[in-house]
């Protein structure tokens, strides 16, 4: 026990000391798994460092100890079944070469054929069942959105506005309706980071690199939350969101506001706040209205990050080796070009992985809150009712549209389900008819 504790202490001490060669590298050096340069460095260090010498001796000792587990010798003669398989293969090859007409039998003998056939059948059935199902589910949504857009233009004349976050002279942020967007411009707003107080402090960006190493040890959690609120004072709640973001140094990732002429106003926003302030931000947001829904989620991405780091380190080592190779290359031009192509490929990979790492770090540093703010519905009394003629006209148009919709729905249903119905009908019809006739014959006799 005491010996193990001593060893543990020694290992910790070694970690704390500034060894130019890591313990794993010492092991890799002994296994002959280090590149030449690193091996030379490790050898030089081993000559001077007593601790690493002890470690190397212990590792060698472990490998030596493992040789005690020996296995009884094995007869190297080819066994009967293997010899038979070899003979069979030879004869099959001869047959296939001599008799090309038997290709179908040879094809059927392959093991994967039944599996492929089953998989193919399953795929076909899935396609027949799922595709109409999915199209049926997608169609109503499209129909609804089309109907809504048509109705919006026609009946409610929804005013669509772009919302933007503009830094105010005082350093704050003024968010709100700035103008009507022409038809055809989507409501979705691009991610607009608050430039002044709402922007994440520069230290965040600066310390990301330094943080990354610390984050490696602690579990990395990407936190997300969802909050649905209903408020009776939409404007106040809207500005309240800006205030909360400013206080917690967060920013808006995405923000949409729908303000129909009649009906409730609705705000949908994706907010990003520093992860450590998620709790307090949520608490403040909840004061802006009545909470309809609240949910939180944490996704651990430590393994993903560590794996990415390892791949990145490997790619960097490869790049280094290739660069060395390029420097020492004295061969043909084509070989030099090949090395250069490989270097650019590896660099591309490194850049892509670095971007991915940055993205992961940002996901951890900033939590995402998806907020939906809905205004309480207040029905407005219509003091002067529409004239009788207008009401008749509206009813006629509604009736006409309803008929057209029904016809279109029926056609869509037939197009969607027709082939499936025909197929299954054909499959069920013949066995049913067979059994029906058999039963009928039996009852008559």
């Amino acid at each position: 026990m005491a010996r193990q504790q001593r060893r543990q202490k020694m290992r910790l001490a070694m970690r704390k000391d500034n060894h130019p060669v890591e313990q794993e590298e010492v092991m890799a050096y002994l296994d002959g798994e280090l590149p030449i340069e690193e091996a030379a460095r490790a050898a030089a260090h081993l000559e001077a460092c007593r601790e690493c010498q002890t470690l190397a001796a212990e590792l060698k000792d472990v490998s030596q100890s493992l040789t005690a587990w020996e296995i009884e010798p094995y007869d190297p003669q080819v066994k009967v079944d293997v010899a038979a398989a070899l003979d069979e293969r030879k004869s099959t090859k001869a047959i296939s070469l001599g008799n090309s007409g038997n290709w179908f039998a040879a094809f059927l003998e392959r093991r994967w054929v039944p599996f492929a056939a089953i998989a193919g059948a399953a795929l076909l059935v899935s396609a027949l069942v799922l595709v109409p199902y999915m199209s049926h589910h997608a169609a109503p949504q499209m129909a609804i959105s089309e109907a809504q857009s048509g109705a919006d233009q026609d009946r409610f004349a929804v005013s669509r506005h772009a919302i933007t976050a503009v830094p105010s002279p005082k350093g704050g942020v003024v968010g709100g309706v700035v103008g009507r967007v022409p038809d055809g411009v989507p409501l979705g707003m691009q991610a607009q980071m608050y430039q002044s107080q709402a922007a994440p402090p520069s230290s965040f960006a600066g310390t990301n690199q330094g943080k990354a190493s610390a984050v490696q040890r602690a579990p990395m959690i990407a936190r997300t939350a969802e909050l649905t609120l209903t408020t009776n004072n939409f404007e106040k709640a809207r500005s309240g969101i800006d205030e909360v973001l400013r206080r917690h140094q967060g920013y808006v990732g995405d923000l949409n506001v729908a303000s129909p002429a009649v009906g409730q106003r609705r705000l949908t926003a994706t907010l990003r706040v520093p992860a450590d302030q998620l709790g307090s931000t949520l608490a403040e947001l909840k004061t802006l209205g009545r909470v309809e829904l609240e949910s939180q989620r944490g996704e651990e991405i430590t393994a993903q990050f560590v794996d990415l780091e390892a791949r990145l380190a490997n790619a960097r080592t490869t790049e280094k080796r290739l660069t060395e190779l390029e420097r020492q290359q004295t061969g043909k031009l084509s070989e030099v070009l090949e090395v250069e192509t490989e270097i650019s490929r590896v660099r591309g990979e490194i850049e892509s992985m670095e971007a991915e790492r940055k993205l992961l770090t940002t996901r951890v540093d900033f939590a995402t809150i998806t907020t939906t703010l809905t205004e309480e519905f207040k029905a407005q009394a219509q003091l002067v009712p529409n004239s009788l003629g207008t009401r008749f006209r509206n009813a006629t148009i509604d009736g006409y549209q309803s008929v057209v919709n029904d016809v279109v729905e029926l056609l869509l249903f037939l197009v969607s389900y027709g082939p499936s119905i025909l197929l299954w009908g054909a499959l069920i019809f013949f066995p049913t008819r067979f059994f029906w006739r058999r039963w009928k014959r039996k009852t008559t006799s």
Binding site: Q4, M27, D31, W69, I71, E72, P73, P76, V78, A310
Partner: protein, 197 residues
């Protein structure tokens, strides 16, 4: 001496002699591979044969993308996984923990096996592939579909854990003396517990 990949390509073209050469080179190592991982020697032999049967069946589709050695152990690992699943399904214990060891120093061998059995499964597999099958880090990574750095870390952890397990008894060099005197005593049990921890 023709290399393994050339032999495999010759076999693919129909040379029986090439296959026999490959068989002679790898039947022993493959038997050892299965023998160290399974309790039943007969099953180890069967699986070694099945590996070669799989090679014969798959020969027309063979492409020299990786070493034949890695290719063979890849097949071996798949067969081993299937065997373990079968054993688990039938409720047969698969770990070779109690069987008497063989070799020049059976007691030391048994001690090594017991120590190996205490390691984490993935670390033990990496350690065995390195020490007994003599595969490189890259080959192990390719076989187990792991990053090379992960293989290196786990190998280091396995060796360190094994060192801690083996050494309290005074290493294997004098395992006979210590085990002869200590086995079954409370002190030995306490050390075993420490090793397990």
């Amino acid at each position: 001496m023709t290399n393994d990949e050339a032999l495999m390509l010759e076999f693919q073209r129909g040379s029986r002699a090439a296959f026999e050469e490959l068989y002679a080179r790898y039947c022993g190592p493959l038997y050892g591979f299965f023998r160290r991982r399974l309790e039943n020697p007969q099953r180890a032999e069967d699986l070694a044969q099945e590996t070669f049967l799989a090679v014969i069946r798959a020969a027309p589709r063979y492409e020299a993308r990786s070493l034949v050695r890695t290719y063979l152990y890849g097949i071996g690992l798949k067969l081993l996984a299937m065997e373990r699943r079968r054993l688990a399904r039938d409720g047969v214990p698969g770990e070779p923990a109690t069987e008497p060891a063989t070799g020049s120093d059976p007691e030391a061998a048994m001690w090594v096996r017991q120590a190996m059995a205490r390691l984490d499964t993935s670390e033990r597999e990496i350690l065995m592939l390195r020490e007994y099958e003599q595969l490189s880090y890259v080959e192990i990574a390719e076989l187990l579909r792991l990053p090379v750095n992960t293989v290196r870390s786990r190998l280091f952890r396995a060796r360190t854990a094994l060192r801690n397990c083996l050494d309290p008894k005074g290493a294997l060099h004098n395992a006979k003396e210590t085990r002869g005197a200590d086995s079954g005593t409370p002190a030995a049990a306490a050390e075993d517990e420490a090793c397990n921890a």
